[in-house]
């Protein structure tokens, strides 16, 4: 397969809330939460930001980074579990706002935290088949955690966009492999504001089984092993899960370090491991190999194997790095956070 990443762009809102601040409200011990989750703070959208505005900013960064002609984008998919409309695509707004309309196909994807990587796979197939020249796959969320729920400490906001094509690649996608079962570990019913989850059931039968099965499946298919890779990224609902699954699979903490953005960002859901990949590409050199596995509750995982090309140097500074987006945050208290997250009904 000669398909890969032509460009990428990320966006993170500037607001952050610290885990201590949330713990204080619910009378929880912040240290035990930080130890348990390995997350210190999470991003919070501005009052006028949502999944669509975040997706547009990420998409524009991807367009600008490599000087993409938006009219060459033949397909655009936005993966999210927090599309502002239940019916009416986020992707039409994004396509219009980057100047990609009208000659393209778009749709919104939803698969908990892996809708964005499913979008990458869809674009890969369409590019490789010759249906389209370029495809854009976006993962973006302003994820919701119910007040006081464990998810509230990590549910964050951010988005990442990848342009998939055949020419001028910054990273070849050598192969991809998916593992999917019907495992109801987490869901949100139509019209409900907050998701429900199975507590510890989301761990072993959910995250660990699917991530490790997809990862092992890809390495088996390709005949690779963890030591063949310079970097690895696993879906990051917190800091602990990806660290543990990396260890289980035989990846070192050094390999996952550049992409482990969750500790300072929280879980950006559909943007999660795609953000880790963006942070890794920000520092990768030509020839580096990167391993990535997403996870979406419900449940499934998509694994990818990438090799970075020397074009990475040419486009690296064309858009803000993840590190830059994480820098200079504005810390807010819980009351402001509640207002930003529309938890106060007017």
């Amino acid at each position: 397969m000669s398909v890969g990443i032509v460009s990428y762009g990320a966006y993170i809102p500037r607001y952050r809330i610290r885990v201590e601040e949330i713990a204080k409200v619910w009378g929880a011990n912040p240290n035990s939460i930080i130890d348990g989750l390995m997350v210190y703070e999470k991003s919070v959208p501005d009052l006028d930001e949502d999944t669509i505005t975040i997706a547009v900013e990420a998409a524009r960064h991807a367009i600008n980074r490599a000087g993409i002609d938006p009219q060459e984008i033949g397909a655009l998919y936005t993966g999210s579990e927090s599309h502002p409309y239940a019916v009416k695509p986020s992707s039409t707004v994004v396509a219009e706002a980057i100047g990609a309309t009208p000659n393209l196909t778009v749709a919104d994807f939803e698969f908990a935290c892996k809708a964005g990587t499913a979008a990458i796979q869809t674009c890969m197939g369409m590019v490789d088949s010759g249906m389209i020249k370029l495809g854009m796959a976006i993962g973006a969320d302003v994820s919701q955690g119910a007040p006081g729920d464990a998810l509230e400490y990590t549910a964050a906001a951010g988005g990442v966009a990848y342009v998939i094509g055949k020419k001028d690649l910054v990273a070849n996608i050598e192969s991809t492999y998916s593992f999917t079962t019907d495992t109801p570990d987490f869901w949100r019913r139509e019209g409900m504001p907050y998701p429900e989850h199975g507590g510890r059931f989301t761990g072993e039968p959910g995250y660990f089984k699917h991530v490790s099965s997809a990862a092992q499946g890809l390495m088996k298919k390709m005949g690779t092993k963890p030591s063949d890779y310079d970097y690895a990224i696993f879906h990051q609902p917190n800091g602990k899960f990806p660290t543990r699954v990396a260890k289980m699979l035989g990846f070192s903490s050094e390999q996952i370090k550049p992409g482990l953005v969750v500790t300072r960002l929280g879980n950006t859901y559909s943007g999660s491991c795609m953000m880790g990949l963006a942070a890794t590409l920000d520092i990768a050199k030509a020839g580096d190999r990167i391993f990535m596995t997403s996870f979406g509750s419900g449940a499934g995982s998509d694994s990818f194997s990438y090799t970075v090309t020397d074009r990475i140097e040419e486009i690296r500074n064309g858009a803000p790095s993840v590190e830059k987006l994480l820098a200079d945050p504005i810390y807010i208290n819980y009351a402001t956070y509640a207002r930003h997250k529309n938890k106060i009904k007017l």
């Binding site: 930001e49 505005t53 007017l346």
Partner: protein
Amino acid sequence: MSVPRFWRRLKNIYNLIGTHCEKCGSFLYPPRNMCPKCRRNGMTIPFKFKGTGEVLTYTIVHTGAKDYTKLTPYILAIIKLDEGPQLTSQVICDHSQIRIGMKVKAAFRKLGEESEKGMIYYGTKFVPMEG
């Protein structure tokens, strides 16, 4: 604003697409179908502005407009685009940071929504230019 009325101008608002008069060279935003200088002799074509400019004047609105009560207080400003035209928009930054002459760039944000059930309006606001 009604849905068709917003939809008609949505591309302009999302992407700062205004008008260029090829006759006199004027750059116009908001878009116009007649050049105010050349009038009937003008030759107007759509023109996409870069989205960079500076704050000409501003205010911090404490009693917000109807669709903006959730955002109040907010910074309302007149932005002079680098290509010349001036427009009204909001600047997203710390309220102590805003000043006349501040360099800004376009950002994509929610403008408002009709209600929890209604249409959501998106468009261009401005954020400080880095550095």
